[in-house]
Structures are given as C-alpha cells and as structure tokens.
Symmetry: C2
Subunit: 651 residues, 2 copies
C-alpha cells in the first residue's frame, strides 16, 4: 500500500543555515528564561500571576516562616520538577549560580522533611495527622515521586547526594508504610508517578526493593475491594476536590487491574505516567503480562485516540480519553503534560521493544503536541493545545472556555510548564540508546551522544538541520571495541531515503523502522543519512468524524497549521484541492526562523452567498487563494488570531 501521495517539493528558495540546530534555542531558553521565570513564579514575584506559594509552603513547613499552606495539594511537585529540570541543565553545562540556588532550595526541602522521612507541605502544614488518609486525591505519593526523580537527576548531574538522600529517606518511609505485609496500607496513589520514580530510584541505587514496591503499586491498582472506597469511609467521607465526585474508577485507571486493561481510559496524563512505569517494569522484571498490557494500551491510545499533533485527551472534563475515534478538534483537551507524558512512555516502550513506531510517536510529541506548550520567548504556556482556535468562539462559548487563544503567564494548576521544560532539558536521553546489543539513533538532533554498548562507549556526533532538512551527518567520535550494529531510525513519515557510510552507499532494508549498519567502527567513520522530506497531506481515519474530508499539512515530523497572521481570518473558508504544488521556504525572520509551506487553495467568495439567508439551496462560488502554513508548535506567537490544523479539502 502506498504510504505517500504527496505533491512535488520545490527547491528551497532561501538557503536554510547549514546544520542549524533546532533544539539549541529551546535548550538555551530553558536555562536562560524558563527556569529563572519559573523561579520567580514559585517565589510569588511575578506581577499579575496568581501567587504559587510553593516555596513559601516549604519555608512554613521547615519552620522558617509562619503562615498557612496555599495552592493545590500537589503544589510541592512544582518545586521538585524545577529542581529536576535544573539537574538536566547542569548535566549539559555546569552553572555555579544556578547550582547554588538549587542547593539552597534542596536545603530548604531537607529542612521541611520530617524526622521519619515524610515530606509534604500540605499534610505537614494544613492537615497534620492526616497523612495517607486520602491517597485518592491527596497526591502524596505523586509528590514523592517527583522528589525522587529530582533527587536522581540532581545527583547524576552534580554528584551531590543531598536531594537523593531526602528522596531515599522518603522512599524508605513509603516502603515501610505500603505493601502486602501486616500493618501496612494496601493503597496506591490516585495519580500515578511514584511507580516510575521508584524504578528510577532502583536503577540509581541498585536497590531492587524499590522496583518491587513499584510493581506492587501497579498490581494493587484496580483490585477489589476498591481501596479508595475503603479509605473514603475510614476518613469520614471527606473530600479535598469536589470535582472528583463525578469521576469513576477509570478516571484514575483503577477500573480493572492493570494487567486486564485494554484501552486508554480516564485522565490522559495519569495513563502516560502509569504506563511509563508499566513498560519499565515489564522490561526490568521480564513480566510478559505487563508488557502485553503496555502494548495493548499503547496501541489503543496511538491508533484510536490520539490527535495528529500527538495530543491526547478528547474531553476537557476529566482531561480524559473518551472513546475510539472520538477526536473533536475544538472542545478537546490535549494537555501539554499529556504529550510530555506520551514522550516519557514512548521512550520506555522503545526500551521494551526497539520498534521505531514508538520513536515516531516520541518524535511527534516533541515537535508538536508538547513543544506547542511554550511560547518562543519561554515565558508563556499552553495547558490545552487545540487543533483549531477561533478567539471569538473560545471567548464566548463556555464549552470552549478551557481553550485559550494565547499562551498564559502561568496556571494555578501549574503542572505543564515545568513538565515541558524538564522534557526539553533532558532531550539527550531521548536521542539514542543502546538496546539489545545495538546502538540506536532515534532522533536526529545536532550534538554528541554517547551510547554504552557492550563493547564500550559509542560516541556519535550528529550535524543536521533536521527537522527542516532531511540530511543527517553522523561522525563517529569514539567506537566500540567490537563489531557493533548501529541502527538508524527511518521515520514512519519517510518513504524515500538513502544512506552512505564513509561516502559509499549502504544498502539495506529497515527492520522495525531501523536501518542497521553492522561493522567494526572506527573513530573517523562518517555516516550520512538523507531522508526525503516532501510536504505530505495527511488524512484521518474514516471513523474520525471531526476531520472527515479534511487534510493536514505536514513535512517530516512537523505538523503544520494555518494562522490568521498569514492567511487572514475565516480559515475554515479555505479549501485545498489536490494535487497541489507545494513550495517550502526558509524564512529567517519569521517566528525565530522557520520553514514555511506555501500552496494553492481556494477561498469561499462570501459575496456569492444568498444573504441574508442562514441556510439556502444556493451554492457559493470560490476564488483562488494562496495559503501559508507554519509549524503547529509555533502558533500563537504573533498575537491572537485564528489557527487551523485540519483544512477543508476537495475538488
């Protein structure tokens, strides 16, 4: 079956700077803008932004200030994710000022930790004595997980063990509190996170008991009797979040035991966090039942419940999955965190099975659904990432109030900004991996990675203007001592490619989406991979109602959209006819430098309509028009205006 039915791609009119690094500006932004900005927010110093109170909560819990707890019950996690992001940034480049600030925060966190290891400002300041009474809503284990992730990252970056020690102390308390033994609580967290964090802690410390606790948490989920009912009765039927009342067990993936789950259900972010752990556990515990569940739910999520941008969560209420092929483009949620979570999950599925279809989704999220969450200046964020935006509609139709026409300075529930920045800061660990005896390159990103193969470190330096150009040069900087397969991902969107090794064509067919080059490598080897990158018009599965008869412009891993700034308003009145000649052009002055796509279209001639009728048997005429598309992730960086991903099509 033909995978490609694309038009012709004209030569570049304007030269793209050679080997321009797509990700460098973003990584720099995280260090130079986003982290300092988030720091100011966490300290309640950004005018016009609702105070976070997150640092003050720690100061109060540490006894350094008097006051009340403020914010969500999971407010602590914003501090943890900030510290984790700092850790990833320091791995790339030490920064004494940033490190000193982080050390100070870590000192504060350590002071707020209770003598027995407990660490949670809400339950320390606001509800002392009520620890572990509301796992359903309380997010204690969730916050614990984030401190574990931060402790592991910060230790890896700096060699400093203070935060890891805090995290381990807390993890040990959790080990003593939860589990199958007598006198222990048989509960699990309403929001998965502790599970994947315990896996990380197990890998960082070599302690298998953390892995086993994670496995136990996963297997308790969805068992009868339903733990959250038991604790609800025990604590006297109180609730922290009234909105939880309306959500059923599937909201938090406890409708059936994890091993029996077949579909992606409930809160989308929770699904990605839970199954990130499930994938890890399936691999590390060699558990075929968990592996099968992870693959089933992955397939359901990505083949029936995912937007073309990688967004997930079709419903705003519950920020949740709904049903197969239910993918409305206006009322959806498609939370930034959920796309970030999909990247986490994809990375772990790859470790479980080196199949490029996982990397395809990981890449889709990075370049589209996740990246859309941050403005080009690093200080504005989307929570919801719509497939279309009409500012007048979103302002005046309350069913769309969650969809913002512009990125916001912050959110009361601030999970997304720090989730995206920690993903970008840790990008290196998504680029390649040593799996099953082979070095894999999943993503084409300029820079050097080192993969720990069985025959020693394999250091590779990529130079590429990907995703704007398809040419990738990989120089071997350190070779393994024995013959080692290098597997290069041929993306799912790529129908034509060629590869050279030291200038000589390399023939071969990709297996599971990876082209294997097996040889005794030397430090002067050069590999060149050229991925044909035409403009591709995507259609959606016929079962999807909202996008039937529409097309989406894409090129390489990038999903494109139309913006009012380039195409005027009433974008739905544009129509693409096929075949169309598309031209791509590097626009250095646009959106920080980007590749735009231009093509022919038609536009409804409104003057031909049978005014003032609202409905009529008369047809409207169309007039020729040109459209200009920009990468979806870059939308809403030029003021408020309409945006559209799925464009009408037809003859």
């Amino acid at each position: 079956m033909p995978r490609s039915l694309h038009g012709q791609v004209a030569a570049l009119d304007s030269e793209l700077p050679r080997e321009r690094d797509f990700w460098k500006p973003y990584r720099d932004l995280v260090v130079r803008t986003a982290l300092p900005y988030q720091w100011e927010v966490l300290n309640d110093r950004v005018p016009g932004v609702e105070p976070s109170h997150a640092i003050r909560n720690f100061r109060i819990a540490a006894g350094l200030e008097h006051g009340e707890f403020h914010g969500y019950v999971f407010q602590d996690s914003d501090v943890a994710k900030w510290l984790e992001t700092v850790g990833y940034c320091l791995m790339r480049q030490r920064d004494p000022v940033l490190e000193a600030r982080a050390d100070e925060v870590i000192g504060l966190v350590a002071k707020a930790q209770q003598p027995d290891g407990y660490l949670n400002t809400y339950y320390t300041v606001k509800e002392p004595g009520r620890r572990w009474t509301n796992l359903h809503e309380g997010h204690e284990l969730y916050c614990a997980g984030h401190f574990i992730e931060a402790g592991v990252a910060y230790h890896e970056a700096t060699g400093k063990g203070a935060l890891l020690q805090v995290a381990t102390g807390y993890a040990d308390l959790i080990s003593r509190t939860f589990g199958p033994g007598p006198g222990k609580l048989r509960g699990y967290c309403g929001h998965p996170e502790i599970e994947l964090a315990l896996v990380k802690l197990s890998e960082a410390t070599g302690e298998r008991r953390y892995l086993e606790l994670a496995l136990w948490f996963v297997d308790e989920r969805g068992r009868e009797p339903y733990y959250f009912d038991l604790e609800y009765e025990r604590r006297g039927r109180t609730r922290l979040m009234p909105e939880f009342r309306g959500f059923d067990r599937s909201y938090l993936q406890a409708h059936v035991p994890v091993r029996e789950q077949r579909t992606a259900e409930g809160h989308a972010v929770r699904v990605t966090y839970l199954y990130s752990a499930v994938a890890d556990l399936a691999r590390l515990a060699a558990d075929a039942g968990l592996a099968a569940a992870a693959v089933r739910v992955w397939d359901n999520a990505t083949r029936r419940r995912m937007y073309v941008t990688g967004g997930i969560g079709s419903a705003a209420v519950g920020e949740a999955f709904t049903s197969d092929y239910d993918l409305p483009t206006d009322t959806m949620y498609a939370e930034t965190c959920a796309s970030v979570g999909m990247a986490f999950w994809a990375q772990r599925m790859l470790k479980l099975d080196a199949d490029a279809r996982y990397a395809d989704v990981m890449e889709l999220e990075l370049y589209n659904g996740a990246l859309s969450g941050m403005s080009l200046d690093g200080s504005r964020y989307f929570y919801v990432n719509p497939l279309e935006s009409v500012p007048e509609r979103t302002a005046r139709n309350p069913g769309l109030r969650h969809v913002k026409p512009a990125r916001q300075p912050w959110y009361a529930c601030a999970c997304c900004p720090s989730n995206l920045t920690r993903l970008i800061a840790s990008l290196d660990r998504y680029i390649g991996s040593a799996l099953g005896g082979a070095a894999h390159v999943h993503l084409y990103v300029s820079g050097t990675i080192e993969l720990p193969t069985e025959a020693g470190p394999f250091r590779l330096e990529q130079s590429t203007a990907y995703p704007y150009e398809g040419t990738v040069r990989i120089a071997v900087r350190n070779a393994p001592t024995a013959e080692t397969p290098l597997r290069l991902r041929i993306p799912g969107w790529c129908a034509d490619w060629r590869c050279n090794v030291n200038g000589a064509p390399w023939a071969g067919s990709p297996r599971k989406g990876y082209l294997e080059i097996r040889r005794q490598w030397s430090a002067r080897d050069q590999v060149e991979l050229v991925l044909d990158m035409p403009v591709r018009l995507l259609r959606s599965h016929p079962r999807i109602r909202s996008t039937a008869g529409k097309v989406c412009i894409s090129r390489g891993p990038l999903i494109y959209c139309l913006e009012e700034a380039d195409n005027g308003p009433l974008l739905h009145e544009l129509r693409v006819s096929e075949p169309t000649e598309w031209s791509t052009r590097w626009e250095p002055g646009l959106l920080g430098g980007t590749m735009v796509i231009r093509g022919a279209a038609t536009r409804v001639d409104e003057s031909s309509w049978d005014e003032p009728a609202l409905y009529s048997t008369a047809s409207t005429a169309s007039v020729p028009a040109r459209i200009l598309a920009v990468p979806y992730a870059l939308w809403a960086n030029r003021g408020e205006g309409e945006m559209l991903v799925w464009i009408s099509s037809g003859a």
Copy 2:
C-alpha cells in the same frame, strides 16, 4: 437570485392518504396521553421518574398536608403550564372529566394563594418572609406569569373565572409591589415571562395598567444601578443556584437596556420570552423603539444564531446563545423550550408586521425544533435537540453528557414537556390571524379557523396533507360582509406555486411572502393553493464552521435526518453527490406514517484505509450507497442509534 437548486422529485410511489391531518395525532396525543402522563408525574406516581412534588407543594402550601417543599424554585410553573394546556384542549373539545380534574387543581391553587394575593409554594413553604428578595434566581414573577397565562386560557376555554381571579389577584399584588412609585421595588424577574403574561392579562381584562406594568418591567431591565447586585447585597449575599455565579448580565438579557440590545444574548429561552413581550408591547403601545429592538434581535437570532432545525442555544453552559455563526452540531443545546419560545415570539412578530419571514420561522419550529421534543407516543421528551447523535460519543464524552440519545421520561427541571404540549394544544392560534385589515393564513393545517376581520368573522376550512403534500384546499364557510383581502403565505422554501379561486387561476405576486386575494367572499368560495414541494438540499452560511461542505435534506417545512435504523451506523461516512435523483415515498407503516426521502450517496470503503494508521497520506475509496432520510422531528423513536442532519457532500 435563484432560491432553488434542487433535484428532480419522482412521482409518489405509494399514495399518501388524501388530506391526512398531520397535527390531529399530535393534538389527540396531548389530550389522551401527554396530559394524563404529566398529571401522573406531577403527582409523583410514575415509577422510575424522579418525583416532581409539584402538586404536593401546593397541598402543603394550602395547609392540606404537612411536609417540606421539594423541587426547583420554579416547580409551580409545571402545574400552571399543565392547566394552561388543559385550557387549550378544552377550547377544541370540552371534556368533563379533564375539566373536573382541572377545577380541582384550580381549587387547590386558590387555597395556596395567600390573603394578599401572593402565590408561590417555595416562598410560602420553604422561605416565608423572603418574598421578592431574590428576583435574580427566585422565579416568583416567572411563576406568576405562568398562572396568568393559565388563568386567561382556562377562562377563555370554559368561561370559568376562578383561576383568572387567582391570577388577577396576584397581578394586582405585583402591581402594588413593583413599579416607579415611592416604596415600590424597582426590580424585574431574572427569567422573563411576567411581561408577556401581563400583556395577555391586559388583553383579557381590558385593563391597560397591566400592559403598562409589563412595559415598565421591560424598560427596567438592564438599567443602572443593576438591580440584581443591589438585592444581592440586601439579602446578605446568599444564592439559590450556585451556577448563577458564573453567568454575567447578558445571561438574563440585562447587559444593556432592552431598547439598546442588538444581538440575541444569554439564555435562549429567556430571549424568546422577553422579546415575545417586547413585540407585543411595541404593537400595543405603538412604540417604535421597542419594535426596532425586536426586529434587530430577531434578525440576529434567526440569521446568525439559529440551527437549520430552528434550534437555538449553541452552548450547554447557560443554555445560551454564543456568537454569530457559532453553531456546533454536537455540543449545542437547542432546547425544546427555546424552539417553543421562538414560535411564541414569531407569532407576535407577525402581529407587529405581517411578513412571512416570521411565519417561516414559526413553521420551522413547529415541524422541527419544537416537535422533536416529544416521542411519538407522547410520554418521552427531549430537553436538548442535537443535530447529530452518536450514542457512544454522548455516553463517553462528558462534554456531550447533556445530549441524550433517547427521549427521557421526565426531567428534574421539567420546563420542556409542558411547554411543547401547550404549544401543540394551542396550535389553532398560530394558523391564521386578522392583521391590518386582511385575513392571513400563516400555516396550512387541516381544520377550521375563524378570523375576526373588520367586516365580520371569516371562517375558513382547510383540507390538506401538508406538510407531506403541497396542495391546500380552503373552503370559505363564513364570509365577511365587505370585500376583504385573504392573504395566503407562500413559504420561503417554495419557489413554484399556483393558486385557483373557484377553479380559475389567480395571478399575483406575493408581497412580504403573502399572496393576496381581495374580493367579496361568499360562503361557497373555494381556494386551492398548490405549493411545489421538491426535495431541497440546504447548505449553511459560509461563516458556519461546523457544517461547511455539508448538506441538509429538506422538503417543504420539514428538515430531514439520517438514522442508523435505516442507514446503518457511521453516518458520517456517507456522502451525497450532486445532482442526485431523490425519490419520496409515503411509508404508512413507518413512524406512524411518514414521507421518506431516498437518494444515491457514496459510503467510505473502510477496507481501503491504511490500517492501522490513524493518519495517513493514503486516500480511501468509496462505494455506492443508498440513503433514506426521515423527518427530523421523528428521530429516536426506534431505539438508540446514530442520527445525522448535516451530511457530507462533494463530488
């Protein structure tokens, strides 16, 4: 400009019973099924239906029982609307059993009335002493309006004055309580209704002061200082309905004074009730400012904010209008009450200006948006009337929870059932009217109407199988004593027609949509009007996003839809190409006997899709298919299944 671009209509394959009366079964249903069913509900005797408590509230308020008030604060209005419906039914045919039951209820209502005329079970039983403290939410004047409407109707039907006396006593209390004078409250009701009711009371009693009070209520609305803020402070910032907190002033049409309103804003039912009164007051007080406001808001509602079925209210939150051309077909509200209210408003716009465009909307509502609200057996009701229904989506996407795939036995907020039945029961007063010295026939409905022209009563007997056939025979049964114009509406959907008077062709051009026949009529005159009634494919205004590129099948005043029962599931995969040969056929055994429309279409061949991809550059193939469409108002009478009004179209 061509108004019609329809396909060919084949001859009827199956004979439609001559002069079948479309409305007789519905009118019978109201008397025989709906009224008795609603009576049982009002008395809490229908198993499985949440108790209404409406009659019990009156028994408690009357001192006949002890107990607490239950239900919405406006629960009384369900009893009033039931009585009003009884009144209309008795006008057509006296029924001693029904009348005796109604008289008993009226006795109960009178007992619940306080000595000073006050009548409201909520404030009598539950919050005594808090009268008139919460006009914003309390619905006291709204309930008063419904009792006034009931009193007027019941008096007109039976000559019995007991309920009218209750209503008048209450109206007099309201007159003493509200108004511009010293010591009076300068408030108005959060939910318009009292205004149109006072107009009716003024016409029934000849008392102009009721009209003046209505005018005053209308003019207070939207004035500064904002009354609802003042009373909120006065009563100590309490609320009856927490959901009101989020609604701004436009929710209840108080954002600016009525005379300055230009668009249909807020809760859709409220708009129709308010502007029904505004249209009446403009006419009766010869107030050009109010007339201009009524026309402006009408034009905005019907030319920019109305569904093809006549439904209004694009948003579920607030059951409200949103913005121009924002007409989503899945998340909308399109409440039955709002379509009923549009018929009320249209009827009054016609009295203000005998322009058939008002009658076109009135007819559209009667046959589609309103009638859809009741099942064929008269015991199940829709609150929300969607333009598409996919049971799996509505069940699993919380953004669609308000959209039911099947009519429900009752609603806790039960405004719609009795609103629809009172409209059907009073249909006679929508059919024709004497306006500006001419007798107008607005609707073609079998039966006899008598129009009070200046030259005496003009009695007309219609015989027609409309809306299934376009032939209407009108026999004059009593003629005015002087030359009198008879104006017959040529519907907006009708491009070709012919008219005979006593067998001789009558030439003429319609003016404002009415064909005038001016002559000295005699009691044996016969008029025959033949309206060409082809199948018409409607398109929507190009600014409407949700229905761009789609078509809607209609014939005469009927909007058609596809149902899964006839076309299988996945209705969105069907596509209509033009030109199509349509055939119509009378199906006596289907849905109580209806005219179906058949035509050619294509259906996506799912096997041609690039599985398991969710998005692909590959196209899908289509296979030929046949579609069968049924009138929209009849959908969901054959179990749960998909329904679709707007069908994909294209070559």
